[in-house]
């Protein structure tokens, strides 16, 4: 891997964000709005649902963490879509750039996006609802890292689908992640799911992170077991999805789709 090729892609996206209001809004405005709306709903419900301990803590914490996963996925997929919209894929794939460098650059973009969004959301939560995400404690960091990786997995998966099926599959960039939301058990514990769905949710690394978050917040217990599951599942899925991305690139070159994907 060559660093100059990865930074070339990053610089290209930074140029883009520097002068695009809609793209800046994607980072600042929407997450902020999300937090404000859900924050008020949480406060309202908390009045009547006081029997659920730490309701606000659960809900706002979950909301912020879920948004990190979402933005991580978006960081990957939107970076690819930008190239597709700009009809720039041919320039990139006919250059010495390797698929691994392309993926690394999009992952770096995703980390930058998550960082910016997290600061906005955590800051707003503190300001408007006196909610401090840091109450999750030292576990917060490994939780966030794992959610970012789950976001990458969904992002690379979605990118491969768009590459393979073309612009018709573009809508997946926004909808795919929500397919995972019910089985991520973001706002409710895993046990409320029907048994058959619990089995599926168990294979989802994000579900273990949100379970872990509730374990820490409600019982103050160690979520090490959840974290171990999340790390293992993330490791396995990341390897699988990257291999699938490589296969998709090969398939597209075989069928002449790489140059037509933007058409």
């Amino acid at each position: 891997m060559k660093l100059h090729r990865i930074t070339a892609l990053l610089v290209r996206h930074l140029y883009l964000y520097r002068r695009s209001l809609p793209r800046i809004m994607e980072i600042f405005y929407w997450p902020f709005l999300d937090l404000v709306i859900w924050g008020f709903i949480t406060l309202y419900l908390a009045r009547y649902q006081s029997q659920v301990p730490g309701f606000v803590t659960f809900f706002l914490g979950a909301l912020i963490l879920w948004d990190m996963l979402f933005r991580s996925q978006q960081g990957i997929t939107i970076a690819f879509l930008e190239e597709l919209w700009a009809r720039n894929l041919m320039n990139l794939f006919a250059s010495p750039l390797k698929p691994s460098e392309f993926l690394t650059a999009t992952m770096a973009m995703s980390v930058m996006k998550v960082t910016a969004v997290s600061i906005v959301m955590a800051g707003s939560a503190l300001l408007f609802y006196s909610y401090n995400i840091l109450i999750i404690g030292a576990w917060l960091m490994p939780f966030v890292l794992n959610l970012v990786i789950t976001g990458w997995i969904i992002g690379v998966f979605t990118t491969s689908l768009i590459m393979r099926f073309g612009q018709e599959a573009e809508v997946l960039a926004w909808s795919m992640v929500f397919l995972f939301q019910p089985i991520s058990c973001v706002f409710y514990p895993l046990e409320v799911l029907p048994t058959w769905l619990q089995v599926i949710a168990w294979a989802n690394p994000a579900a273990h992170i949100f379970e872990g978050m509730r374990t820490v917040l409600s019982a103050g217990a160690s979520p090490l077991g959840n974290l171990a599951w999340a790390v293992c599942l993330n490791g396995v899925f990341l390897v699988m999805v990257v291999a699938w991305f490589y296969r998709t690139v090969a398939y597209c070159k075989e069928h002449g789709l790489l140059v037509r994907v933007g058409e």
Binding site: K2, H4, R5, T7, A8, L9, V11, R12, Y15, L16, R19, S20, E82, A86, R87, N88, M90, N91, L92, F93, A94, S95, P96, L97, K98, A250, K253, E254, H255, G256, L258, V259
Partner: protein
Amino acid sequence: MMAIPVLKASALTKRFGDFVAVNGVSFEIRPGEILGLLGPNGAGKTTTIQMLLGLVTPTAGSIHMFGLDLSTHREEILQQVNFSSTYISMPQALTVEENLCVVARLYGISDRARRVNDIIKKLDMEEFRSKTTRKLSSGQMTRLTLAKAFLTEPRILFLDEPTASLDPDIAEKIRLLLKEERQASGLSILYTSHNMREMEEMSDRIIFLQRGRIVAEGTAREIIDRFGKADLEEVFLKFAREQRQAS
């Protein structure tokens, strides 16, 4: 003694399902040579170029550049190759200069600012260097994609209808520049165009493709004489009509 070719395509074939787009095509390009690739719509020119750029995997045959096999030395080869086509674009929200800077980074060019400046001057792009790419006219856009191709100082350049949307003055400038570059640096060029006069003027040798096969090869003069026609345009029309009748 003949110079060693910088590019050698051997029995290159591409099938899309049952359809054969390129069928056993073999050719070479020598250092400093301009090779014209001619053929009617759908003859397989773009598919051939895309295989040479590693964007489409050949079904059979091999591609060697600078003595290296493209299937195993993609990175080394593509570092020394570039292309420009009327069909590509560049990120629209970036300025001309920013786009060129990104390309310079991508190819690991040191002294980026100077090189970008030089190429902007060379292609007469100063007046729109700070414009966002979205605002360029089609001729200016073509100049930008040519600039990105020249910027990396390639040893082989693939040009798919490079002068298609340029006014005659700029088109002439570009043709001069291409000739100068090949004189100065031994640049080799594979060139497609539907402008037959330009083809005759520019190409040292021409390959005619028809339904994926090479049907004629040689200098423009040789091809014209071989088919007993008045000029290249007449030869082209003959092949185009034959292809249409067959399909």
